[in-house]
Amino acid sequence: MATVSVCQYHRGGFSFENCKRNALLEADINKLGFSSPAARKTGTTICGVVYKDGVVLGADTRATEGMVVADKNCSKIHYISPNVYCCGAGTAADTEMTTQIISSNLELHSLSTGRLPRVATANRMLKQMLFRYQGYIGAALVLGGVDSTGPQLYSIYPHGSTDKLPYVTMGSGSLAAMAVFEDRYRPNMEEEEAKRLVRDAIAAGIFNDLGSGSNIDLCVITKGKVDYLRPHDVANKKGVREDKINGRPETGNYRYKHGTTGVLTKAVTPLNLEVVEESVQTMDTS
């Protein structure tokens, strides 16, 4: 029973090679007085909903490094196969690489079977890989797609457990998004209503959760068609600076109009200075 896979899996259990290397690097860096870089996490609100003709996946676009926003417009909806997409929350590197590995293996599998891949197959591959790594791969995923069996939606947790449900949310903003879903979800919605629901759920995460922000990306998957709407909604537009001259933004000009501050008294003391020496040095601007 040979399986065609790109990546060679280790036989038996977790490979601790990189843990040793990381521990040595950590010790070395600390000796020099620096701290190792924090893993970039996608704080995140991601969600998905099954509607009449397929699934709608949604995600925000903020990636954080500790308390700082590292990427204001990152893409969290990853391609798995033409009919299957996956939103990722947790450690950004983990979600990116995991989805790429499974996408690659699924393409090979699809060529081997001669069929369009199934969502359940992607789910199995993802859960078995994540279980093997016992939760050390911090990837929490919302997997959705349409195959010969119909539209399906799965939530996959870092330790490898999965749930097949009609609506799911993941990430730090999942509670806010789930509140919206629990209020307004109905089975067999129309496409516009489903898109509105997902958009509102992500918006709830963006505005109520610190780890989520910026724009709303949507991915509508139906039988034979995928609408990757990035961005679907620019929920947080960057403001325009006030100081403009003739319409062009003038950077660094902090001048205020005369009269902005009221003058109460004025006292002028002339300083009698003698010019002793004057020399000009030209700057080399070549």
Partner: protein
């Protein structure tokens, strides 16, 4: 089992970082001609309910089911592995597998990897040789046959109810009522159990599944 990776101030709440657990109340009862199995439907990550309609009654073979409690990832992985092994064994045998075989497969895995796993499983089903059987495989990997078995965090609250209300030789309907009432009581008291009650009857005729929704649960005195 609690696993936390990166305590990032309060940016990522606790429930995004704890492992998913099927808090759970599960139960299985033998009767003449088959078994009745039941479970609640709550899966938690810390204090958040990740799935309120979980199906913890997992088919392993046509007439063999398992009730899962403990770590969701561990029990799903074990159940998938045993389903494969039992299916292969059944094809080799060209015969319906024994419930004891399924239970043994669970036991072998749960005992071998007992340090790494957190899984409490009740295996129940019907086979032509010995009829309806319930085997319990708790945390640690022991395996024993019992006429009635309860498991999961909610089971602590209903041992007294089960011990006092179980009688040998109950009918299918009596077993269903007994299971539904016991699980309701457990769900009432255990925070990690709740949602709906899922029931299944496994017999020679096959598997009948039913769901009892929240408002239809049996009512006991409200204190």
């Amino acid at each position: 089992i609690v696993s936390t990776f990166n305590n990032y101030n309060d940016l990522y709440p606790d429930w995004t970082q704890t492992e998913v657990s099927t808090g759970t109340s599960i139960m299985a009862v033998e009767f003449e001609g088959g078994v009745v199995i039941g479970a609640d439907s709550r899966t938690t990550t810390g204090a958040y309910i990740a799935n309120r309609v979980t199906d913890k009654l997992t088919p392993i073979h046509e007439r063999i089911f398992c009730c899962r409690s403990g770590s969701a990832a561990d029990t799903q992985a074990i159940a998938d592995a045993v389903t494969y092994q039992l299916g292969f064994h059944s094809i080799e045998l060209d015969e319906a597998p024994l419930v004891q075989t399924a239970a043994s497969l669970f036991r072998d895995m749960c005992y071998r990897y007992r340090e790494e796993l957190m899984a409490g499983i009740i295996v129940a089903g019907w086979d032509p040789r010995r009829g309806g059987q319930v085997y319990t495989v708790p945390v640690g990997g022991m395996m024993t046959r019992q006429p009635v078995s309860v498991g999961g965090s909610g089971s602590s609250y209903i041992y007294g109810y089960v011990d006092s209300n179980y009688r040998a030789g109950m009918s299918k309907e009596e077993c269903l009522k007994f299971t539904a009432e016991a699980l309701t009581l457990a769900m009432e008291r255990d925070g990690s159990s709740g949602g709906v009650v899922r029931l299944a009857v496994i017999s020679e005729q096959g598997v009948e599944r039913q769901v009892i929704l929240g408002n239809q649960l049996p009512k006991f005195s409200t204190v």
